[in-house]
Each structure stands twice: as structure tokens, then as C-alpha cells.
């Protein structure tokens, strides 16, 4: 037996916050994915907005390549404010 396609569900819990991934579900189409997501992930007013995305449409970085993929950021500590020395007594900097 073949199941309905998988969808990833994202919920915005309130204004001012971004949508956050909460889990996934099976549904035959987008409309039912939204309704199922409402019933499954917002039974207690956890959200004011929902996104559903077909899981097959998500492009992910390769965990095996993680080191090489993210290594450009490894040697750039000067991107952080803590890299800089500030003379004693200087404020608001």
C-alpha cells in the first residue's frame, strides 16, 4: 500500500515570530495538508499561521559534507564583536 505524500509543517505561533518547523504529516494534497496540520499541530492555539511544504521539495545540505561546506566561516572570528579590543572606559561601543 502506498501512503499519501509527506509534507513538512511550519507554524507561526504569534505575530512578530517567524514560522518554525514543528513536524510532518501525510496528506493527498495541499488543501488537506493544511487542514490536517491545523488539527494535528494547532489543537491548543499554538499558531496563527501555517505553512505546509512537500517534503520532496526541500533541498538540504549534505551532513557528510558538513565540515567542508561550513568551513568558510571557521577562520573569520573578526566577524564577531568580541574579536576587537576596546580601551578601558570606552562605553556604548
Amino acid at each position: 500500500m502506498n501512503d499519501w505524500p509527506l509534507w513538512e509543517v511550519f507554524v507561526r505561533s504569534r505575530r512578530g515570530l517567524s514560522h518554525v518547523h514543528v513536524g510532518s504529516l501525510h496528506a493527498p494534497d495541499a488543501e488537506l495538508a493544511l487542514r490536517n496540520a491545523r488539527d494535528l499541530y494547532t489543537r491548543r492555539q499554538e499558531g496563527i499561521s501555517l505553512w505546509v511544504v512537500p517534503s520532496a521539495q526541500i533541498v538540504a545540505s549534505d551532513p557528510g559534507e558538513r565540515e567542508a561546506f561550513f568551513d568558510p566561516a571557521d577562520d573569520k572570528v573578526y566577524r564577531h564583536p568580541t574579536f576587537y579590543s576596546v580601551p578601558e572606559g570606552v562605553e556604548h561601543l
Binding site: 499519501w4 509527506l6 510532518s24 494534497d29 551532513p63
Partner: protein
């Protein structure tokens, strides 16, 4: 950030995520445990669903429907967590339907009276919470996240059960007797929910080493007894075990011997309701086939061709 090995991750109490390398045994253990857990949630809808149409008031009925719907949701969270390990929900259901995977033995006991709905909420959901809270720190990320969500929802389940029993135990003598009878029948099976004793639990050590299990069966059982005995006193009901008494030296309640022979029998399929639960589950699945087919046909008919999408 260097790639960390599975063992380093565990040693560091880190979380394993779906596409990380992991030993085959770890993956298989998780699939079996999460699937069994998911099956328990959906089979667990049956004993209580049995009372929805006969709930004593509209308030109780709305609450019970919400609880049973939560259990369906718990099943779905868990099937989704299992699927991140590369298995299909449809296959897992198939394994349940053909008896190759199990569900918790507690759901093979009947709900004979309305008070049983109270006893299930208080004792069965109560025991489930004790089992599940440590799973929120399970080493496998998707399982741990599903458990956080589930545990948040469980506390209402336990409270509504406690409230049902409290109302009954302070009602007429008949209602009080009904509440006591339900507690008498559900107490020991609830203690069995923690599984076999530690010296007869062959997979526990490995699960502990893998960070799937955090506490031993007997430790969790003791924790449940310790929190439940005072609650029974508050309900003014007795627990059917004359050996329960506070042990000052241990700092715990002593309690009697659990009949694990009964647990083995129920797991083997010889509980009071094993056949009924499976037959009902199969019937529900087969009766729902036309809905699944209709929804798929509708989706296919209305599928927008890629180029046509604005």
C-alpha cells in the same frame, strides 16, 4: 565544525539527527520502539472511545473526545518520527495489522464502567507520563521532540481522569464503589506498563548506553508508586495492595510483587481484549480505504501541472 562521530555525540549527550551516521542496531531499536509507541497511541483510542457515546454529561463527552483525539495526534507525531529513520508509516501499520509489531499490553484490558475512563486517565496516562518524560531527553532528536509535544498534552489527560474519580468517590455509595472497582482492576496492569523487572530486561542496558532509555524499569515503577500513593489518599480510594507502606530507610513506598506472568500472557496475545482490539483496528483501517482512495483520486484530478502554476 568538524564531523563528530556517533560515539562522540552520545558521550557528549548530543542529539542524533536523521541523516547522521548511526549503528544499524541503534536504528532498528528506535524503529521498533517508536513504532510500538505509535501503535499504542492509536490502539489506546479504543478503550476510551468505547465511552464517548455514553459519557455522563456534555462536558465529560467534549473532554473525552479531545483526549482521544490527542491520542490520535500522538500516534501521528510518532509515526512521523519513525519515518525519519527511513521506514514507511504504511509498512509499520502493516506490521501492526499482521501482529509482527506490538502495542502496550495495557490496552488489552476492557473498560467496563465509566469509572474506568477515570482510572485510565489517572493511572494509565499517569504511568505513561512517568515513562515518557525521560524520553524527552532521548538521544534521537525527532523522537525527543515528539515526546516534548506529547508530554505537554498528557498532563490534561491525567488530570481529567483524576477529576472523574474524585467526583465519583465523593458521589453516591454506588458511584464510589464503581470508582474503587476501576482502581482495583487498573492498578496492577498500570504497574506492568513499566515492563519486566530490571534483572529480566535483556535490552535495557544497550538502550541505556545508547541514550534511548534514561532510567531502569524498576526505577520508573518506583517513581510512579511514590507519586500515586498520596494521590490515592487524596481521592479517598485504596490501592489493591496490602503491602504498600512508606519505608523511611529507603525514602520510598514499598509495594507488593507484580505478577509478571500476567504481563507475559497479555503480551503473547492472551489478554482479555487482544483479539477485539486487533479486529477493531483492522476493520477501521479497511472501512477507511474508500476515504483514502477518494482523497487520492481528488488530489490527482486537481493536480496543477508544473508549468501552469502561477
Amino acid at each position: 565544525m568538524p564531523n563528530v562521530s556517533f560515539d562522540d555525540l552520545l558521550a557528549d549527550d548530543g542529539r542524533v539527527e536523521p541523516r547522521d551516521p548511526m549503528p544499524d542496531g541503534y536504528r532498528r531499536t528506535l524503529v521498533r520502539q517508536i513504532a510500538q509507541h505509535a501503535h499504542s497511541e492509536i490502539i489506546g483510542m479504543q478503550p476510551e472511545g468505547n465511552w464517548i457515546s455514553r459519557a455522563p454529561s456534555l462536558r465529560r463527552k467534549a473532554i473525552l473526545m479531545a483526549k482521544v483525539q490527542d491520542e490520535a495526534g500522538h500516534g501521528l507525531y510518532l509515526y512521523a518520527a519513525a519515518e525519519t529513520l527511513g521506514v514507511d508509516r504504511a509498512d509499520l501499520l502493516d506490521q501492526l495489522h499482521t501482529g509482527r509489531q506490538k502495542y502496550s499490553s495495557i490496552f488489552n484490558y476492557p473498560t467496563l464502567t465509566w469509572a474506568d475512563v477515570g482510572a485510565i486517565g489517572w493511572l494509565v496516562d499517569g504511568a505513561a507520563i512517568v515513562n515518557q518524560v525521560p524520553l524527552c531527553r532521548c538521544s534521537y532528536g525527532p523522537y525527543a521532540r515528539a515526546m516534548v509535544r506529547i508530554c505537554k498534552e498528557e498532563s490534561f489527560h491525567q488530570r481529567q481522569g483524576f477529576e472523574i474519580l474524585h467526583t465519583l468517590s465523593h458521589g453516591t455509595p454506588g458511584q464510589r464503589a464503581m470508582a474503587q472497582d476501576a482502581v482495583d482492576r487498573y492498578w496492577w496492569p498500570a504497574l506492568m506498563m513499566f515492563g519486566p523487572p530490571d534483572d529480566d530486561s535483556p535490552h535495557s542496558a544497550q538502550s541505556m548506553a545508547w541514550g534511548i532509555k534514561r532510567f531502569s524499569n524498576d526505577d520508573l515503577r518506583q517513581r510512579f508508586v511514590d507519586m500515586t500513593v498520596p494521590q490515592a489518599e487524596a481521592l479517598d480510594l485504596t490501592l489493591p495492595d496490602p503491602e504498600i507502606r512508606w519505608n523511611d530507610e529507603r525514602g520510598h513506598y514499598d509495594f507488593g510483587e507484580v505478577d509478571f506472568g500476567e504481563l507475559t500472557e497479555v503480551i503473547k496475545g492472551n489478554g482479555p481484549c487482544n483479539r477485539e482490539r486487533m479486529a477493531h483496528r483492522l476493520r477501521a483501517h479497511e472501512d477507511g480505504a474508500w476515504v483514502r482512495e477518494a482523497a487520492a483520486a481528488y488530489a490527482a484530478k486537481h493536480a496543477v501541472p508544473e508549468e501552469g502554476a502561477a
